[in-house]
């Protein structure tokens, strides 16, 4: 269930990469060949594709243990200490991403209420992109929560 969610989010991130490429190439083509410009390319790339690419795949990276950490010091600790640091590190990550998702959601809602937009030749609505931050952060917090739960369950089993 959680796995399906993080894969779906990563796939949306991948789609954003594809769209970004096509959008920029289309803009270059229009500018140089047709002598027109696609309105708000810069804003759409920066404020939709980029947040989608950064925040949505976070959960998938977490499930595949892909987030970058430095392991050589911790690996030298004795097993029980290692276990404690592992749980502590995961908890810290979960709390930080949860908090980031929570304040990000407040920000997104505030921008939704005033229908945040940017004015160029045409008005570009910006508020939808804001929701990518809490979606991505909550998803990774969820993956971390599932990991922690699994960790505790396995420890109970060990104890028995």
């Amino acid at each position: 269930m959680v796995q399906r969610l993080d894969t779906l989010l990563a796939a949306i991130g991948a789609a954003a990469a594809a769209l970004m490429m096509l959008h920029v190439v289309a803009e270059i083509f229009c500018r140089n060949v047709l002598g027109i410009t696609l309105p708000a390319t810069l804003e759409i790339v920066s404020l939709y594709y980029m947040p989608a690419l950064i925040f949505l795949p976070l959960a998938s990276v977490e499930r595949l243990a892909g987030h970058i950490d430095v392991s050589f010091v911790q690996e030298a600790f004795p097993a029980p200490v290692r276990r404690v640091t592992e749980v502590a590190a995961l908890t810290a990550c979960g709390l930080v991403y949860g908090a980031m998702g929570w304040v990000g959601l407040q920000e997104a809602l505030a921008k939704f209420r005033i229908r945040e937009f940017l004015m160029g030749e045409v008005a570009v609505p910006l508020w939808p992109g804001r929701f990518l931050v809490p979606i991505g952060c909550f998803a990774i917090a969820l993956v971390i929560a599932v990991k922690l739960a699994t960790l505790f369950r396995s420890r109970k089993n060990d104890a028995r």
Partner: protein, 435 residues
Amino acid sequence: MSPLEIGYAGVLALVLLIFLRVPVAIALILPSIVGVWAIIGSRASWGLLRSTPYEIGGNWSLSSIPMFLLMGYVCYHARLTDGLFRASRAWLSALPGGLGISTIAGAAVFSAVSGSTTACAAAMGRIAVPEMIKERYNPGFAASICAVGGTLGSMIPPSIVMIIYGTFAEVPIGQLFIAGIVPGLLSAAMFSLVIILISWLRPDICPPSNSTVTWGDRFRALGDTWPVVLLIAGVLGGIFTGTFSATEAGAVGAFFAIVIALVRGNLTGAILSTAMIETARMTATILIIAIGAALFTRFLALSGVATHFSELAILYATSPLVLVIGVALVYLLLGMFLDPLGIMLLTLPLLLPAFNAVGIDLIWMGILVVKFLEIGLITPPVGLNLFVMQAIVGREASIDRIAKVLVWFILADLCTMALLIAFPSIVVFLPSLLG
């Protein structure tokens, strides 16, 4: 505690968290939130956490990173670069560490296309590391070659770092770009020297090539290099004719790579979707650290740590040379914890007047600053290029293994730095020649 003390405590906490195996992004964010809370209060720290991620993520100039990644991933999965590596193996088989040196050369060419060090390291890493591992290079060594090769990205124009320095110092960006060419090539030569040295001293991590190659093989191997030659020529040509900007070049590069792969008939839906998914995951992995680094920069700005460092350098600067060496130390120290952009924003407003006061050539200083900042990208504990390579090689080499080999390259960089300081004409000769 005074803000300054809180700042130093935050740096300490960062190192501690990293060693306790807290993921780097969180190790940067956690002390920042707590530190800002301690200095100003909870409202400000939640406020920063609320606005910074979206602000840093929604950045046009960062958009070249996923696009160059995509280009590299398509090249790798569609085997566009195979021919190039066969050719370089054929031609450089006699040279110790030939494949490593051709990776450095490839990074130099890539640097002429990309303005970003991280994009350069990531794309080269995806393409070249597996090739080197195939040749039985030690994975840590292979990764460190790409990590340092990536640092050419900001020295060889175009360069985002130079644009920011040029805007701050109000020196001609065009002259900075030209000034970076020779130091960039010098750095590449020094890296190659290190590779040759290592392949002599440590055949266990860089084994000699034992295949016998005829001249016929060599010329036949050239035939299959066309995909990459075409790709690079297309992107470089587009930049130099002004068809697209260096930031847009990544998207064009990825697009060309897909088209070329399609034409050669080695593109499948599976390859394409793998490349896209890997791009998305790698972008998230790298840029969440960039967001953490931005938060940490803000925290250090409030605490005054960087200001304190810069003031110390200025205070003891009795001569231009002492100031330059002081600045080098400040940058190398800050480079251990901060990203290049953060360091520049924190220190340049203070240092530029000091440079002017002692009459330092700002173009020369700009190139030195770029060199200092680039070294910071490969020094532990926080070095973005180091992390990028770790993410690419995964379990095959841990950060400390990569870092151990990197020491050699950092020494080479320090030599380059000494050369640039001792002989400023290496830097200023070319720009003065061209006006």
